[in-house]
Symmetry: C2
Subunit: 348 residues, 2 copies
Amino acid sequence: MNQDRPTKKTTIYDLAELAGTSASAVSAVLNGNWKKRRISSQLAEKITRLAEEQGYAINMQASLLRREKSKIIGMIVPKYDNRYFGSIVETFETMARERGLFPIITCTRRDPELEVEAARTMLSYQVEWLVSTGATDPDRISDICGAAGVGSLNLDLPGTKAPSIISDNFTGARELTRRILVNSKRKLGAARPLLFIGGRGSDHNTVERVRGFRAAHADIGVAIDERHILTCGYAPEKAEISLQALAMAERELPSGMFVNSTISLEGVMHWIKRSGHYVNHSPVIGCFDWDPFAALLGDEIEMVRQDVQGMLSAVFEVIDHGAKGASLIEIPPIFVDSNYALINDPMA
Amino acid sequence: MNQDRPTKKTTIYDLAELAGTSASAVSAVLNGNWKKRRISSQLAEKITRLAEEQGYAINMQASLLRREKSKIIGMIVPKYDNRYFGSIVETFETMARERGLFPIITCTRRDPELEVEAARTMLSYQVEWLVSTGATDPDRISDICGAAGVGSLNLDLPGTKAPSIISDNFTGARELTRRILVNSKRKLGAARPLLFIGGRGSDHNTVERVRGFRAAHADIGVAIDERHILTCGYAPEKAEISLQALAMAERELPSGMFVNSTISLEGVMHWIKRSGHYVNHSPVIGCFDWDPFAALLGDEIEMVRQDVQGMLSAVFEVIDHGAKGASLIEIPPIFVDSNYALINDPMA
DNA sequence: CAACGGTGCTCAATCGATGAAGCAACAATT
DNA sequence: AATTGTTGCTTCATCGATTGAGCACCGTTG
């Protein structure tokens, strides 16, 4: 079809000429408000048929230029290398489309400069909202958006200049720690203090999780060794290096660990396997995040699953109905049983 | 900054008024060809400064409407739930940006209707190229793009109407099978025929991998049991159901498996752990795809890593320099050693 | 002093879709 | 017969950036 013009795209003017009518009639028919514009159904049908035949596709650039709302929603995300972010992106796309929004996602690889550049590019594309996921400097992005009159939102990591939707890290970490301690007690006879590894000491989530970690120890009156709080960053290698350094320094390693992300867990498990420590007494492990294979690794890996559906529902709730100022919305995480069952409400 | 006008965005006309000059001068300065248009460097500097102060962001819709090239490149991808696709998306974004292209990615959840809809939407946004990754019906998408004069490319799964870049599935599968058989021989004393599980019997990759699987068995003169080729789909549950059915039907299960994706491996490992089969003789496993945790699961999980960098280099090679017709470009996969070392050229 | 080339800008048309305003034709009402 | 209402369209300005054409002014040259 339409062999005569191989490259040039069909416009409403081409269709108008073919239909022997005006471009505005074509426009009205194709964007659905032809009833309102009192176009006869015969003409509407004819135009629709022609559009189909010609393989007409609207030029969004032209349409959006004219319209006041772009219906484009942007998201920046640090990485695609774990299930948590993958699930966030997939859910975001689905929910955006359900609302008639066009999602644009970009991965900024935890690079602050890229984050800013990506935000600016998204503004150029006239996004109506920008969701900053796990951004290193969310407030900078909120400022940039604010100056352009574009709404922004923080996801996963909070900021102070836009509504933030994050997991309830404190409560989640406290419950996760409690569970690891219970497993530790069952396995070793007594609850022994755990190691905390992964994350950045400077980020809110890590701070809150350490706080939950401390609280759970305090709850059962077990003292923490401050040298065993290793907020060494998220990369797998950093966890390995950190553990190796600890093993060099100490006679005895902790018998259990709270691992702050699946990415860190990757390094931890690799080190455990290769280092030769823990050969005849594998540690009791818990991880703040979920991965299907990690779940199958040992018998005793306790995992928290962040409630991605819940978090994104909250995101779109804010987008649809607004939120006051830079509010902080905390979503309780979900505890995953080893046999794939989900148990809600960790504190129940 | 720019407090007076909270919502309305700054345009080149606003900047022109502020600078006491014309919009065309502003445009020339901001898009970099002010030398060609003989604008003085004083004026250029002034305009640049003003643009910065006002937080000006170009309106891409307007710019793209006027220009002939959009510099937008689209990709559709089935899922974000494994490292392979995550890595494809991340690499694609990086390489696109390096070339000054703006990547738009959308996830179609293996839904043929969504694929077509996504392709049409991307055409509306004037993409110059569309990369269909693992599409269920790549030719349909090529047709749609072709009608609009837009280039298309297939990645991961081949089509017949556009250049396709895929892994060398046959060679990869043959070498993977060979390795599993070697491991099987080392462990059990003799090389026993393997089970093939996962993938769709209708897709090219699965067909080729089964062919490689057969070839490797033939190479050492071991006969395959045809009932042990289970192309049950990609979802984890399908692999579980399929294995369960096999276990009900047979007295003895195969001692080794070729698993066709990490997603299928998820189901396989879960079933092995929960079903009670293989309790005192864990099977020798190989997987066509790589996952960091799966790599740590057993001692004997052999994994092939598809060469994402290589595949995307080939994609952009085609985009930059063209390819003849619907050529098929096969990229050799990479074999991963259990200690994280990479060994190239599987056939060496 | 006229002609010429160079510099430094402005003007106005254009990309494709949209929608307010308007117009012609006819029907219904006073 | 004049007014009003309704239907079914068309006309045209507009969104913001881009770019070919053109204009005014300068210094230089013959």
